[in-house]
Amino acid sequence: MTEFTVFTDLLVAALIVMAWSLVYRESAAYRLVEHIALGTFFGFMLYAGLNTLYTKTIIPLFETWPIDLVIVTAIGILMWTRVVPKVQWPSRIAIAVLAGVSMAVAVTGAVSGQIIQLITAMGSWTGPNLKANLESIISAVATFTTVLFFTYTREHKGVLFPISRIGRYFMMIGFGAIMGTFLMANVSFSIGQIPKLVTGYGRYVSIVAVIVIAVDLLLNKRRAKEKAQHAGP
């Protein structure tokens, strides 16, 4: 194992321990690592952004000068006027174009993909398999009652009240399913990091961290005791 690997093991373990120190309490170590994360991430984003700007815009622009690329590059440069407050109005045009195009594409997809396709893709109620038919009916009832639950144009009373209530229960089943699957994803982040803290040179960092926390707990206990004594009966 080279010195470089040792340094890497120690660095990675130290960063993880400092980040996770927030679970104990906010400290200088956490604040430090938070700002390092911020700075390095922005450095990465700027490099990735400039690289993409160069390869996807500047190279094709200077190769063939396509008119649409000329227009969008001009609009993009307008976006940078936001830096100067007195002349920032043109930047809103660039943001408006970005928002308008993105929303239009999302809306076309929402109509065809998310509404029409999902409704027509619902299972048949009259197939040869009874189990499949029953499941399709349950699924359709769940869909219908959930949509009614989100209908706010009428107050949920009369016949609408029990239907929206059923929709609420179906949504609770849906959120229960999400909650159940959530754990696997979220625990995987911790599982991925723990080997770095318990194997190799990282375990020494973990031992130091445990000692620091233990000392901090003891000191806090002593301070609390002294405070109580000074406060008096």
Binding site: L15, L22, H35, I36, A37, L38, G39, T40, F42, G43, F44, M45, L46, G49, T52, L53, K56, T57, D68, L69, I75, G76, I77, M79, W80, R92, A94, A96, G100, V101, M103, A104, V107, T108, A110, V111, Q114, L118, M122, E135, V141, A142, T143, T146, F149, G167, F170, M172, I173, G176, A177, G180, T181, L183, M184, N186, F189, S190, G192, Q193
Partner: protein
């Protein structure tokens, strides 16, 4: 409001409406699809300009805090130095940039996301303290689904993965479909409101 501000506002609204409506027109009539495809590619360029703007804002914010010696200014200085080191190394010496990306950026992103794992468990504890029938349903379903996802469920009993998958597929699937339909309808309504001028959030509230 001054005449120039009104002009800029009108231009902003037109900049929002026209490209979007052109895309919709090309999609549903088939006319102008070649040009519409190019307009759809505009965010690739605009997003990169936005990223540069975002980074400039970051540098400006943290520099101001350092210059004014605000509370915790040394941390802002650390943020700026980390940024300069990472960005500088990307051009100066790529192996160091790759090292920072793998061992600092990626490690810290995973570590911060790791909080969600810890807080997920405390959320389980706090979330189920409110005892209502809905929470009871939520709890039972999440237990079955957890035992479907984890291999240990099959070991405890083969019923758990069967019921867990059924709950995820049938009632939950139906509810999620309803939810997705509502989200899509909401998205369409939001766009219509924006085009008609009732929503200006996308322009930073420039109404």
């Amino acid at each position: 409001m001054s005449a120039s501000a009104k002009t800029w506002r009108t231009l902003t609204v037109l900049a929002f409406i026209l490209p979007g409506l052109f895309i919709l027109f090309a999609r549903y009539t088939g006319i102008g699809q070649f040009m519409a495809a190019r307009v759809v590619g505009w965010p690739v360029t605009l997003a990169t300009f936005a990223i540069v703007l975002g980074v400039v804002t970051f540098v400006r914010t943290h520099s101001t805090l350092v210059i004014k010696r605000e509370k915790y200014w040394p941390y802002n200085l650390v943020a700026l130095l980390s940024f300069l080191l990472t960005f500088g190394m990307a051009f100066a010496y790529k192996p160091v940039y790759d090292y920072i990306l793998t061992n600092v950026v990626q490690t810290l992103q995973i570590a911060f996301m790791g909080f969600i794992g810890f807080y997920n468990l405390t959320f389980f504890f706090h979330g189920t303290r409110r005892r209502t029938p809905e929470v009871g349903v939520l709890m039972v379903v999440s237990i079955f689904v957890m035992l479907w996802m984890a291999p240990i469920g099959e070991i405890i009993s083969p019923i758990f993965p069967i019921v867990g998958q059924w709950l995820n597929d049938i009632p939950s699937g139906g509810a999620m479909r309803g939810f997705l339909i509502c989200v899509a309808v909401g998205m369409i309504l939001q766009y219509v409101r924006s085009v008609l001028g009732y929503e200006r959030a996308w322009s930073g509230g420039a109404a």
